[in-house]
Symmetry: C2
Subunit: 325 residues, 2 copies
């Protein structure tokens, strides 16, 4: 793709329906050539923005699967409060304990293993798992329209990063395969490592149960991106109140910029939950915040001709959603 494609009718967003949302995105792409190359930086939230996050996060499913296997060999594990709530699928018990504490307990299941072994487990899970209600492979939960946008940005020499409230290493293990984004451009919640020696006296990294710095939500998404990647975005995309500061950061850019909010309003093809309680943390639904602050709201139902990358590919017979280099 080159810049002329953006302006010509052969535009890079075939899975987007015509309308003001697509016009806003295409307008930004057309303006991008006026942005200095070193400032062409875009960050995408992962869960609910680049792929499906319902009924639970894929990362949560991964840890749940690991927990079930561990409990098989060590039944006493099932008696720990966090794990009992998780195994019972008891959302209110999880809520009472706190999702963060539960997530940390689950992440602790991998204490002591090497980064390479963790990566192999994540990849194996992604390759073999199936979505619990949609019936599609976990590797097939990516939103095709967003992949088209990522690809278009890459064609304009953007540096594209992925941001997650979950663990960095989980997303990093599959970011190249899913999105063409290398591991060093993933910013999430960081688990600390210890440096030890293996049996041959060689350095060996081991995961700990400690979180480094802040859990990557809200303001921490901005401060963590700055410390780890070092550049502000001119485009940011998210879908929840935890992305508010990230989207406002992009909106503060002096030149062309775009803040995108994915509104999950499509119960037929995906899920509808934009107005649920979790979105009211700011005292209003996140879609209301978006309109008040001038972000571009993507209606999954109205703005996307197809939702999942594999569906778009099947419909068009083309290569939609294949991650680039």
């Amino acid at each position: 793709m080159n810049r002329d494609d953006v302006r010509n009718s052969g535009h890079p967003l075939p899975s987007w329906r015509p309308g003001p949302t697509r016009d806003a995105v295409l307008g930004f792409l057309a303006d991008a050539s006026s942005i200095p190359p070193e400032d062409r930086v875009a960050y995408f939230d992962n869960d609910g923005t680049l792929w499906c996050e319902r009924p639970t996060y894929v990362q949560y499913e991964f840890f749940l699967d690991a927990l079930r296997r561990r409990v098989h060999g060590d039944p006493a594990l099932a008696e720990e409060a966090e794990f009992r709530a998780v195994l019972a699928g008891d959302a209110s018990a999880v809520g009472e304990i706190g999702l963060e504490r539960v997530a940390l307990a689950l992440a602790g299941l991998f204490r002591g293993i090497s980064p390479g072994a963790f990566t192999r487990e994540v990849r194996a899970f992604l390759r073999s798992g199936t979505h619990p209600t949609l019936g599609r492979p976990l590797s097939d939960l990516r939103y095709g329209p967003m992949l088209e946008l990522v690809e278009a940005l890459r064609g304009l020499d953007f540096t594209v990063g992925v941001v997650t409230g979950g663990g960095t290493e989980f997303v990093r293990s599959v970011s190249e395969e899913l999105y063409g984004v290398p591991p060093e451009r993933v910013v999430g919640t960081m688990i600390a490592y210890d440096l030890e020696e293996d049996a041959h006296g060689r350095p060996a990294l081991r995961r700990t149960g400690r979180v480094l710095g802040d859990v990557n939500e809200g303001a921490a998404k901005v401060t963590n991106i700055q410390t780890q990647l070092g550049r502000p975005p001119v485009l940011a995309a998210g879908n929840s109140t935890g992305d508010t500061q990230l989207l406002e950061w992009a909106a503060a850019a002096e030149g062309p910029h775009l803040s995108l909010l994915v509104d999950h309003d499509d119960p037929d093809r995906e899920f509808a939950y934009a107005s649920e309680a979790q979105s009211f943390a700011a005292g209003e639904p996140i879609t209301t915040t978006a309109r008040r602050l001038g972000w571009t709201v993507i209606s999954m139902k109205d703005d996307w001709a197809s939702v999942f990358a594999e569906d778009g590919r099947r419909q068009s017979g083309g290569d939609v959603g294949a991650p680039g280099g």
Copy 2:
């Protein structure tokens, strides 16, 4: 450059003298095609490995310059113990207080400013400053032979990162210009940010005086690279005991790998300090450690036909050392 150049006589290291060191480096480059692309990762320490670190670190000079300007407007600053030692050039007083505490006090001079303003100050300093004894511009302290190696690795699709014991944001401000390395591939000591609002209610990042995690030396170089970049190196280059774990990490790779140690043994063209006390932290000079562990030692005096990039460029009339994309 393509892979054939590595094997042909038109090799990519014109500033390296023939001999076993150059052979080891060229041998690694020739073997690199057997390394899976996602594992082609190389990290270079900055001070003393990619550019000159004597008589003091450039970053230290930058902070000293900032301190002098601040003291001009606020003479009471000069009475603080850390600053008194620095302004007097009193190395033993600095040593007694501890370089780390002194460095943090200096970094604290920039508390409250935005990342963008900090970057502009670093770039202005680099453009205008002169090395105190060599008389050359600060932008002209890069080692040409190392830039040739960085460029050769990039031609083989390596991901090249820069590692520093100093502040990440200082090196990151100039890494693209000096080495063609984007800001997100610089790993150093991280200063925390606070997210505030500016006068218009827009998000505004402000530097704090707090260090996030560990100062980036020794084992922390390895754990920080893992948490921030996520991939182990197959090539690592350093020059001091603080790089030991990093070089051992590269040496632990299963396929082709290279651990390079720059030996500063060239008092005529640069400095000679390999056997100084600071290198004895491991109970032996770092060059002894290197030979014991099988690293490749680069003698600046014997292995490099020219030291600084600009000198090589003047001699050859070519483009040696121009950072690539």
